[in-house]
């Protein structure tokens, strides 16, 4: 297996719902006017609390600082696992599940905080730049690590990255168990030909920026059970969308790509209080049991909470069950 440290330097930010209007211009520019920015990595996720924007430094320049913009202080680097094709892995499990044992668990053991971003195409594991030496050191056994620089993959060896193992000084309680929230709505993960983005521009703007305006037929009590969650990312020219079935109805069916089976996903939101960025082991906690049972999952971290997507209600209950078992 190869682990690629991608050539993006990312910032994790959050825009408050009330301050959105200040940022609509840069966001529209980043989403629709690709040739007007040099931003290569952009992800926008709307949750009930705020908008989480993960973007590279080129894109970050577009966001004017204000009281509505919260920025996590570190620079994050995306990691990507490439199976390099030779192991046509027998298990059909994908995404977080696949890398749970090989990447997430070792990083959790080393107390490295990770920020997960699953897309239609692949899974990105974001780690802080300052943790990179620890990351390399703890994963070099398992992976051929490459650092991508200017289009070239340069092999990374542990001694290049650090001299000896430097543990994170942090001593974090290992078994914090966070409450979970399981909304009723179902989600789909989709993609789109970037060339057709203009064709759905108005719908996308509507869904992203006007979701709070009252919609016909949306009753109040439904809102209690359903959670607003919409994610748009454009990374290296690949578009990925996560939306619930209600939002999906607004899009023309012929333009969005999805699985031929039309599979739908249920969400598990992790965290009662905002999780912060320093706690580690949360993803490991969730993904480990999924991996053990070979259950596919998506995992999307946002500024405040983590979100795991699994395909059926049964798997949700399995997850809850194993989680509570862990608690014991």
């Amino acid at each position: 297996m190869d682990l690629h440290i991608l050539d993006h330097r990312l910032r994790v930010t959050s825009i408050s719902k009330t301050g959105l209007e200040q940022y609509t211009h840069p966001l529209i520019k980043l989403i629709f006017l690709r040739n007007r920015t040099r931003c290569k990595f952009f992800s926008l996720t709307e949750t009930p609390e705020n908008y989480t924007v993960v973007l590279d430094e080129e894109g970050f320049k577009e966001l004017q600082p204000s009281e509505h913009l919260q920025v996590e202080g570190s620079t994050w680097l995306p990691l990507n696992v490439v199976s390099n094709g030779n192991a046509s892995s027998s298990s059909q499990s994908v995404g977080v599940t696949k890398i749970a044992k090989s990447v997430i668990a070792p990083l959790a053991e080393q107390h490295v905080s990770v920020f997960m971003l699953s897309t239609y195409q692949t899974d990105f594991i974001l780690v802080r730049e300052k943790d990179l030496s620890v990351v390399v050191e703890s994963l070099v056994e398992e992976f051929n690590i490459f650092r991508e620089e200017g289009g070239e993959s340069v092999p990374v060896h542990s001694q290049d990255a650090c001299n000896g193992l430097q543990r994170n000084g942090r001593e974090v309680p290992h078994a914090t168990v966070h409450p979970v929230l399981i909304p009723e709505n179902q989600f789909c993960v989709m993609s789109l030909d970037p060339d057709t983005l203009p064709a759905i521009a108005t719908i996308l703007i509507d869904v992203l920026f006007y979701s709070n305006s009252p919609r016909e037929g949306a009753s109040i009590d439904q809102d209690m059970e359903c959670i607003k969650f919409f994610s748009f990312s454009m990374i290296d020219g690949y578009v990925s969308l996560v939306m619930d079935t209600e939002a999906q109805k607004q899009f023309p069916t012929d333009l969005l790509f999805t699985s031929s089976s039309g599979e739908l996903w249920r969400m598990v939101r992790i965290g009662g209080q905002p999780l912060g960025f320093d706690e580690c082991g949360i993803v490991a906690q969730i993904s480990q049991p999924l991996a053990d049972s070979d259950i596919s999952a998506y995992y999307i971290s946002t500024f405040s909470f983590d979100h795991a997507l699994v395909s059926t209600r049964k798997e949700v209950s399995f997850m809850i069950h194993s989680k509570s078992k862990r608690q014991d």
Partner: protein, 871 residues
């Protein structure tokens, strides 16, 4: 969505006159001759000769991303279209749906997870297999190989069951691919390998090229590279693959797949298409974005497998199929040589044929060959009897002369012109001049006047200051001033007018001229010696001789009426009528008689008169001021014209080499130049690099004609005349491929790449390493023991280590040099480094090459002898 698409173009694999343009829809065109009855009014002109007719349009498949044409003859117009959502649809164009086609058209192949289809490729052998390369998905494979004949239903019922049930309709949508490859990655381009149709070359996003074998998909060969777009196999070289990344094309050899064998020069704009020419070896066309030129790379002369020893020979050039418009795409015609159709973004099409480079080669005999495309033309000299000797090619002449020992007569040097055929006045003059020069210098040597002097009229007259007005005597009274000095008479000797000694009588010369029947010339010489009576006598003799010209009597009559009266009728008539005389010597006779003393331009500049006669005349009648000027002027004229008669003036000096240079430039006659200059002084002339070049070229020419004996004779002749020349190496190790000697010393000039020189392209000369032949750059044979190419120095052989330690340093050095020598068995022809062979045969008697049973050592009569100093 539709507007952003640039049209692409696809030739039908089987119908040489059909192609498809695909942008938002598929349009089938037929190409035909322009203006013929077949082409209708709506035909689009593609070139001066051809026009295209639109046959059919298919707009059933929106969101097209890529198209591939079914490779088999039947059904003939079946196309696979890859869509933006990853579906692959079979469609057809302009067909009355026959049964076989009908079954397939409309069939869809749907991936589990929708994403863009980047590329499609039909298997060239098993044409039911269609490979589709898709963008990446976290949970899916990026390469799906579909079986178009499969009847898999969405429920993935095994094929057998479907066949049994006869359920055909359910086969329209296929969701289960035959093979799935490349997880977690996008496939940007792919192609089947023609050498083994089960193998597939993929190019993925994660900067790698991978070769999968479908019989065992878990095994693959792969290599990391940026060049992952547009992989395409050279149809003429099935191990050669091109791929590109942005502006750079990488060429791969599948047998050495670790890295590209070479990359082509990077272009500033990103490439959009790279295609091998199907009708011409090793020709790659590339197109960059927003460009109106197609760049061609000719790799015909690049050896495959490609070694590290040399730099590749690639000829690069550009073509501009349509003058203004930028090119959106192009496609090579599948069968017409070097032909392509290009299409611009606004669908303007252009039929275009890349004109093949003309390659030209002279043979060492007279034949000239040139090749253009698949045509080979030969131009040979008409060997018929009717060809006059003068019109023959210089190569033919030189061959004939070489066979008749031309140049080898060192005693009677003038006879060489007879050996040369005796029909070239310049050669005749040259050899007579050389004869006189050598004669004079030999005489000078005898009298110990001085060292060997490169005698020439110019040199002689440069030293003279003394002039004597001398006798003006014949039986006629004349007041013509006639100059005489020792130097002038020496010059006259060189001109051949008088013989050596104090005697200045021209009578012997006149006699010899009379003998040869040169009546006019003899008469003129007699007249210039102020002996009109003798001149008249000669003319009379000439008229009465066999085949004599009776007109000479008339001339004699005219001559006899000479009067020195300035205003006489005779003078007047002679000076005007002489111009009508065809014979130059008769003409100058009257010019002389009618000229004012000292103003002899009519004689001196009559170019039809031999240079020697004019020079002799000048020596007699020009004063000390006029003479050097005239000689200089004439010498320069001769030099410029490359006229060998001028050697009389320049002699075998540096000036003479200059003159000879312009003669060789005009005629290519290195033979005469070589022989002539060998007679010159070794110090001055022979060291001239030009002279060495002529000699070397003449020797090569003799070798090329396989005139080995003549070459040897020439070498002997040369060493006799030029004592400074070292005896040349006579034994060479010659290259297996080109037959030339592999030693460097014999050719100081840097070798140009063979592929370049014949095209006249001043490309980078290929650098040769010691392990390849300097002539053709092919690798030298390998040593049978160390398996390294010869030319690599011998590594220390462990077996001889102890013995060497004892040996003193100088001997060690000598031995080391000898260790690198080529040795081989004359029986089995195996061999290698001398050092290795020595140590091998110390313990073995049999050839080191496995399976060769030659007992080399026993065949060597001296092999068992031990050098006396080694004990």
């Amino acid at each position: 969505m539709s507007s952003g698409y640039k049209p692409d173009i696809l030739w039908s694999p089987h119908h040489a006159d059909r192609y498809v343009i695909c942008d938002t829809e598929l349009s089938l065109y037929r190409i035909g001759p322009a203006g013929s009855s077949e082409t209708k009014a709506g035909a689009l002109p593609l070139s001066e000769e051809t026009a295209a007719t639109l046959l059919a349009i298919n707009s059933d498949t929106p969101y097209m991303k890529c198209v591939a044409w079914y490779p088999k003859q039947e059904p003939e117009c079946l196309l696979a279209v890859g869509q933006a959502n990853g579906r692959v649809v079979l469609t057809s164009l302009g067909q009355s749906h026959n049964s076989k086609c009908k079954e397939l058209v409309g069939k869809e192949f749907v991936p589990k997870h929708a994403r863009q289809c980047n590329t499609l490729a039909w298997n060239p052998v098993d044409s039911n297999w269609l490979a589709a390369g898709l963008d990446k998905h976290r949970a899916d494979f990026s390469v799906l190989i579909w079986d178009i004949s499969s009847k898999f239903s969405p429920e993935a019922v095994p094929a057998e069951k479907v066949r049994l049930s006869g359920d055909v309709d359910s086969g329209l949508v296929v969701t289960k691919p035959l093979y799935e490859l490349g997880q977690n990655d996008a496939c940007l381009s792919l192609c089947w390998l023609p050498r083994d149709h089960q193998k597939l070359l993929l190019a993925g996003m994660h900067r790698n090229l991978a070769i999968f074998d479908l019989r065992n998909t878990s095994q693959k060969t792969f290599v990391n590279t940026k060049a992952i777009q547009g992989v395409t196999v050279d149809p003429h070289f099935q191990d050669r693959v091109a791929s590109f990344f942005e502006g750079q094309v990488a060429i791969w050899d599948l047998r050495k797949f670790e890295k590209p064998v070479f990359t082509l020069t990077e272009q500033p704009k990103p490439l959009t298409k790279v295609a091998w020419c199907p009708t011409r070896m090793g020709l790659l066309a590339t197109l960059t974005r927003d460009s109106n030129i197609i760049r061609l790379y000719d790799m015909q002369h690049t050896p495959m497998p490609f070694g590290d020893e040399v730099e590749p020979t690639i000829i690069e050039r550009s073509v501009q199929p349509c003058s203004e418009s930028i090119i959106s795409s192009f496609a090579w015609h599948p069968s017409a040589q070097n032909r392509m159709v290009v299409v611009s973004p606004n669908r303007v099409m252009n039929d275009f044929t890349v004109f093949e480079r003309i390659s030209l080669a002279w043979s060492s005999t007279t034949a000239l060959m040139w090749a253009c495309g698949r045509h080979l033309y030969e131009c040979t000299e008409d060997a018929g009897q009717g060809v006059a000797a003068a019109e023959k090619d210089i190569a033919t002449k030189m061959r004939e002369r070489a066979q008749s020992h031309y140049g080898h007569d060192t005693v009677q040097v003038w006879r060489n012109h007879v050996l040369a055929g005796g029909d070239d006045p310049q050669l005749r003059s040259l050899w007579y001049t050389l004869h006189y020069i050598l004669h004079c210098s030999a005489a000078a040597l005898q009298e110990t006047i001085g060292p060997f002097k490169a005698y020439s009229v110019k040199v002689i007259l440069e030293c003279t200051t003394e002039t004597r007005r001398c006798w003006s005597g014949s039986d006629r009274q004349t007041d013509v001033p006639w100059y005489h000095s020792e130097e002038r008479s020496l010059a006259l000797q060189l001109c051949g007018w008088i013989s050596r000694g104090p005697d200045i009588d021209v009578e012997p010369f006149l006699k010899s001229l009379e003998q040869e029947g040169e009546w006019e010339r003899a008469a003129a010489v007699a007249l210039f010696n102020l002996d009109i009576r003798r001149a008249i006598q000669i003319l009379n003799k000439g008229a009465s001789a066999e085949k004599g010209d009776l007109n000479l009597n008339v001339v004699a009559m005219a001559l006899s009426g000479y009067t020195d009266e300035k205003n006489s009728l005779w003078r007047e008539m002679c000076s005007s009528l002489r111009l009508q005389l065809k014979k130059p010597y008769l003409c100058v006779m009257f010019a002389f008689l009618t000229s004012e003393p000292g103003a002899y331009d009519a004689v001196l500049y009559e170019s039809r008169v031999a240079v020697r006669d004019r020079v002799a005349f000048a020596c007699m009648f020009l004063n000390d001021a006029q003479l050097p000027r005239y000689i200089d002027k004439l010498a320069n004229e001769m030099k410029e014209a490359g006229n060998l008669e001028g050697i009389l003036l320049t002699g075998l000096t540096k000036d003479g080499v200059d003159l000879m240079e312009s003669y060789v430039d005009q005629t290519g006659d290195v033979q005469t130049a070589s022989f002539c200059m060998l007679k010159g002084s070794p110090g001055e002339v022979l060291k001239d690099p030009r002279v060495q070049c002529w000699i070397e070229n003449y020797r090569n020419l003799l070798d090329a004609w396989r005139f080995w004996h003549k070459r040897a004779e020439f070498d002997i002749h040369r060493s006799k005349l030029d004592s400074s020349s070292k005896p040349l190496a006579q034994v060479f190790v010659s290259c297996n491929f080109c037959g030339k000697s592999i030693s460097y010393s014999c050719s100081a000039m840097p070798h140009q790449g063979r592929g370049f020189s014949q095209y006249g392209v001043s490309g980078s000369p290929t650098k040769s390493k010691v392990t390849s032949c300097p002539g053709c750059r092919k690798p030298l044979p390998r040593c049978a023991l160390c398996l390294m190419n010869m030319g690599t120095p011998v590594s220390s052989c462990p077996g001889t280590g102890k013995a060497d330690e004892k040996a003193d340093l100088t001997r060690d050095k000598k031995l080391a040099q000898f260790n690198n020598w080529f040795t081989w068995c004359h029986n089995c022809r195996h061999g290698g480094h001398a050092g290795h062979m020595l140590s091998w045969f110390r313990d073995h008697s049999e050839c080191p090459v496995s399976a060769c049973t030659c007992k080399c050592m026993q065949l060597d009569t001296t092999g068992n002898l031990v050098p006396s100093d080694s004990v």
